[in-house]
């Protein structure tokens, strides 16, 4: 039992931080950078990705035994494509404004490398419940990055936070909107493509800095790997 919890703990740690899809694996960058001009878009795309990721991970894990190697990739992408189309249709039907905001990127979740990446690297080798959890954590980690990136860009480029959250969350969310500051000339660059890259660079650097800082603080005794003996002793 304790072993399974530790598996879940490890998965959570990997997905949310250590092996974060956006910050470390650098997967799924296209939508990540493209739609995060504000928090709302980021959150929306994050949730959509999360859904698809869990779904595709479970499915891939379930079918993994029946797929010959040579058609592995076509089958996986098809599974993912199916999920995406389904999610796309659902958003289109029930969250129309979000659908407009995320535009072309919903179909592009299909090839969001994150999703096929997890399918290949994890789901195709592990049981479905672990895969589902992995999908959840990777998706959450990804969403986290999307939200942070969206937040920073929105503050810099617009001076607000949660602008237009009502589009995603319903009318009550109008009250979420925060005017962080108001100047006549916000730093437009932040919401243009170059800003996306640069802010993302700083977020990655921030993560590295935190990691280094913690490592320096921790300095716990290094675990030692026992040597294998090549020869008789």
């Amino acid at each position: 039992m304790s072993q399974t919890t530790s598996v879940y703990k490890e998965l959570a740690w990997q997905g949310l931080w250590k092996n974060n899809a956006g910050l470390v694996q650098l997967l799924g960058l296209c939508p990540l950078l493209a739609v995060t001009s504000n928090i709302t878009n980021g959150l929306g795309l994050g949730l959509a990705t999360l859904l698809v990721l869990i779904g595709s991970n479970i499915t891939v894990s379930l079918i993994r035994k029946y797929v010959p190697n040579e058609i592995r990739i076509p089958v996986f992408v098809m599974v993912i494509a199916t999920f995406v189309t389904v999610v796309q249709l659902l958003i289109n039907a029930y969250l129309f404004t979000l659908y407009q905001a995320l535009g072309i990127f919903i179909p592009l979740i299909v090839t969001n490398c994150l999703i096929i990446g997890r399918a290949e690297a994890y789901a195709s080798k592990n049981s479905w419940h672990h895969s589902a959890f992995d999908g959840l954590m990777m998706g959450l980690g990804f969403t986290l990055v999307l939200v942070i990136l969206g937040g920073i860009r929105e503050i810099l480029g617009n001076g607000t936070l949660f602008d237009g959250a009502d589009l995603l969350l319903g009318d009550w969310a109008t009250s979420l909107r925060i005017d962080v500051f108001s100047v006549d000339y916000p730093l437009l660059l932040a919401i243009l493509p170059p800003g996306a890259f640069i802010v993302m660079g700083f977020i990655i650097a921030g993560k590295n800095w935190l990691d280094n800082y913690r490592a320096a603080r921790a300095k716990q005794p290094q675990k030692q790997v026992t040597r294998a003996r090549v020869t008789a002793q």
Binding site: Y185, L187, L188, L189, L192, P194, I198, G201
Partner: protein, 352 residues
């Protein structure tokens, strides 16, 4: 007895990096003086603001990186960056414009790459483009050349407008920019581009008061000033002629051809050469050694590329003056240029 060990060579011709940089900013003086004459004391204020910001930010970065803070200023490169950025932006731009630009140039474009010599992009130009894209209004609001201005602008008013946005008498920058004909005046290149796109002919456009005999009033002389400075750098062998030569050839040759075919609808080569940041760009900006190609052949290619890009963007692009973009775009290609213009080393089949 023990002695000091050192690597050969044990001798050195003593022109240090500081001296190189000192020559660069000294050579800027003629241009800056002329620019001040035409656009007012704002130029000095901007330079000062840029220098202070550059110094503070370099010191801060050094401190954060646990490096000796005094190293920050040692090589004088930040001075060049700051001054170049300051003279590239309108003299009366609000103070925070130059501060943001310099911060970005020094911190993001220069020090994230490890500081002097390691940056891939021209810091001053990256700072300028950031400003241009983020604050297009402020960055295109050049004051009128003194001769055309309706209102005089003493030093106190200059300070006041940079720091508060209004003169002491309460005039805004926008009002200052109203010319004799009662409409806001754009820079010569801007105005030309706009007029040409509105199907006016070149001569109609040139009839506007902002143009003198050589080109845009003030602008032409500023360019002459920077050309002079550039010649000093050439004479001092701080820069080689390949890059400025390449820039001018790359800009003026296509411009001349295009103009010959569309005499009414194209900017003349002379106007190209003497407006905007052409000379500053050719002699001071494109030549930034750190971000330029290094072999002579490479420098040629690099210069031609910049010149060509300036022409293309000025003629068909969305921006009136394109030096900064052209330089950044060319910066991007430098490693590739360097790779393919590497001289043939001794003994590898090249002819002497």
């Amino acid at each position: 007895m023990t002695f000091k060990l050192a690597a050969s060579p044990h001798t050195h011709n003593r022109r240090t990096t500081q001296q190189v940089m000192r020559w660069v900013y000294l050579a800027l003086i003629p241009g800056v003086l002329i620019q001040t004459y035409f656009f007012g004391f704002g130029v000095y204020v901007q330079i000062l603001l840029a220098l202070v910001t550059a110094w503070l930010s370099e010191a801060a970065v050094m401190h954060l990186r646990n490096r000796p803070v005094r190293h920050a200023w040692q090589d004088h490169t930040a001075i060049v960056t700051a001054v170049l950025l300051a003279i590239a932006i309108p003299a009366l731009a609000p103070w925070w414009i130059i501060v943001i630009g310099t911060l970005f140039a020094i911190v993001v474009v220069k020090h994230i790459y490890g500081g002097v010599g390691q940056n891939l992009f021209n810091p001053a130009m990256a700072g300028y483009v950031l400003l241009l894209i983020s604050f297009p209004v402020q960055l295109t609001s050049w004051p009128l050349p003194t001769e055309l201005a309706q209102l005089p602008l003493p030093f106190a008013d200059t300070l006041s407008i940079i720091f508060t946005g209004f003169t002491q008498a309460g005039h805004s920058l926008e009002q200052l920019r109203i010319g004799v004909d009662g409409i806001t005046m754009a820079t010569p290149l801007d105005s030309l581009r706009h007029d040409l796109s509105q199907s006016l002919t070149l001569s109609e456009s040139l009839a506007k008061p902002i143009f003198g005999s050589l080109g845009g009033i003030g602008w032409a002389w500023v360019n002459v000033g920077f050309l002079l400075g550039g010649l000093i750098l050439l004479k001092q062998r701080i820069i080689s002629w390949h890059i400025p030569g390449g820039v001018l050839v790359g800009l003026l040759v296509p411009a001349a051809i295009y103009w010959l075919f569309n005499p009414d609808q194209a900017i003349t080569p002379l106007l190209h050469a003497l407006s905007g940041a052409t000379m500053l760009g050719a002699f001071f900006i494109a030549t930034d050694p750190v971000t330029a190609a290094t072999s002579n052949k490479g420098r040629w290619v690099f210069g031609l590329l910049i010149g060509g890009l300036i022409f293309v963007i000025r003629t068909w692009g969305g921006y009136p003056d394109a030096v900064a973009f052209a330089v950044l775009l060319a910066n991007m290609t430098v490693p590739v240029i360097d790779k393919y213009t590497q001289p043939i080393a001794y003994g590898h089949g090249g002819r002497p």
